[in-house]
């Protein structure tokens, strides 16, 4: 077991896809979805509150039984409503990272992580080896003996991740992994998690309501709305052709990785060829910048006025949404702006046009 437990080193070829094609009715709510989660890079399942994300996780983990369809991991069937097959949660190797992490309060960090191997009757030396390996892998050796109640949110997340992975799952589900963290810490935790999950060879499904998670973590994205999959694809596909208002909403957000100067007051953040002016007194070094497309104003001539950030670029795409128009400008990096239809018409916004995009410094959110 100790060899397979270190599944980070497991060959990609051995990991198998998670396939969901199942439905369940819960009171007035109907969930029915069909999608695949491939190993290799995390898939993000995003949807507004009440879209059935938790239902979906519970179905995969076996905590809920589908009325219709089947759920399988490679060749092995986890649930098959037609054949009456429903593997108990303890008998399917599906790791689940709970929103509140659900660490066992009566156990230490080490005991929490060794819970999986212990209930699967691994011998003590094997168990200890696996725990040590995961503690080291997540850089939390110092916490081994700690009482879980004393951990910070980010530490709890790492312990929960180590605990889930030490049980040697064949697929990993993360339920709103950042909801229990405050915004300031969750951005750096997002980045760490992304780097960590990139090396996990099993299928990983991250469930979230937060567009930032999709932008930072997700290469492939599944959008869930009202219990149904409304769109799937890579982020760039979704940005080009959003099929619903919700998809348009969350894919519009501008996100840049930047290096921020230190110091107080207005200061520079360099994102590749772009230089932003932002306000973020407490931060410096590598950061994320986000701003809403509605906060970007477009001009034909370089504007004179209060916006500190003005970028010159070529219109690469004009996308008509239900109540507005999204214009993407290539200013070295793509910057997305949203304007009214009237403005789009009067400014003659078509692909190839040269425009100036302006953003106020205070409209830019900076995260570590």
């Amino acid at each position: 077991m100790s060899e397979t437990m270190h599944d980070l080193s497991r060959q990609l070829g051995q990991a198998q896809s998670l396939t969901v094609d199942a439905g369940v009715a819960l009171g007035g709510f109907a969930f029915d979805a069909c999608f695949e989660v491939k190993p290799g890079s995390p898939t993000v399942l995003i949807g507004p509150n009440g879209s059935g994300k938790s239902t979906c996780l519970r179905l995969i983990a076996g905590l809920l039984q589908p009325d219709r369809g089947r759920i399988s991991l490679g060749e092995s069937v986890l649930s098959d409503a037609g054949a009456g097959v429903h593997l108990a949660p303890s008998r399917r190797r599906v790791g689940l990272l709970f929103q509140d992490y659900a660490l066992f309060p009566h156990l230490t960090v080490r005991e929490n992580i060794s819970f999986g191997p212990r209930v699967r009757s691994a011998r003590r030396p094997e168990r200890e080896r696996a725990v040590d390996w995961w503690l080291a892998r997540l850089g939390i050796e110092a916490l081994a003996g700690a009482d879980v109640a004393r951990l910070s949110g980010g530490e709890k997340q790492k312990v929960a991740l180590a605990r889930a992975l030490a049980a040697d799952p064949e697929c990993l589900l993360l339920d709103e992994p950042f909801r229990s963290l405050d915004v300031a810490t969750s951005m750096s935790v997002r980045r760490e998690l992304r780097e960590f999950l990139a090396e996990v060879a099993i299928p990983v499904l991250i469930v979230t309501h937060d567009p930032l998670d999709a932008l930072v973590l997700g290469e492939s994205i599944i959008v869930l709305e009202e219990g149904r999959v409304s769109q799937t694809g890579r982020l760039s596909d979704l940005q080009k052709q959003p099929r619903t208002g919700f998809v348009a909403e969350f894919t519009g957000l501008n996100l840049f990785q930047a290096v921020l100067d230190s110091g107080a007051g207005l200061k520079s953040a360099h994102a590749g060829p772009l230089e932003f002016h932002v306000i973020a007194d407490a931060l410096a070094g590598e950061v994320f910048l986000t701003f809403a497309p509605a906060d970007v104003t477009l001009f034909h001539e370089r504007p004179e006025g209060s916006p500190r950030n003005v970028f010159r670029g070529t219109v690469t795409e004009v996308l008509a949404l239900a109540d507005r128009v999204r214009v993407t400008i290539d200013a070295g990096l793509p910057v997305r702006a949203e304007v009214t239809r009237e403005a789009a018409a009067s400014l003659h916004m078509v692909a190839g046009e040269i425009l100036f995009a302006a953003v106020k410094a205070i409209a830019i959110h900076v995260y570590e």
Partner: protein, 279 residues
Amino acid sequence: MASSNDARGKDGQRRREPGGSLTGLALGSLPLLLFLLFPLAALLLFLSPADWWLHIRSESAVRALLVTLKTSLAATAICVAAGTPVALLLAGGRFRGKEWLDTLVDLPLTVPPVVAGVALLLAFGRNGLIGKHLSVFGLEIGFTSAAVVMAQVFVASPYFIKSARAGFETVDRNLVAAAATLGAGPWKTFRFVVLPLARPSLLAGVLLVWARALSEFGATMMFAGNFPGRTQTLTLAVMSAMESDLPTAVAVSTLVLILSIVTLVAAKWLAARWRPSVV
């Protein structure tokens, strides 16, 4: 049982009492508190320690103590073993008839023990509903130490079930689900997660059941009778001794009182101290 009588708010400041000043309330409470304390003091002060030791060593007292310890410990074990599934059932999800089950479990708290004793006799006595079939096989329950245990289980079981249920209900469902996704089946989840987290309430329940079994009188009297060395427990020995030997009655009463106080204090201490920390 939980220390809900804590008069301090979260910030450590004393909350305002709803009925007026603390001094006024203390004065108002005094009559009842004194009324409760005086008889207990009278009981404790009646015999000198030397006299107490003399009478508690009497043959009837020692025999009653042995019968009581044997039966009350057996009754406690049965309440724990048979009551745990009931507590888990009540703490678990909703099901039809849950309210009725809950009421049935609580019933022994309000049924007078004497009535419970009559009911037990009519069910398990020699001519009882079930008892008459058992006596065909030469199995007689009435007026044996088994009857003492049954009487104690009947009246004491709610104390364990209520306490255990409260303990099980405090265990976060997510922790149970987490254990399952980590590979623990129902038994291992119970053993490694539910049981340790509910342990303080379970231990408190054990102590309360034991205290109630120790002090059982009415049902035992009716169903098991008062035979020294066989069914005569401490409380029954008190009643017998009252007719002829007051010092022995007082000595045994004092012993029962002390045992009750110790178990109650221990149960309260456990409930207050071992609260599972919230993560």
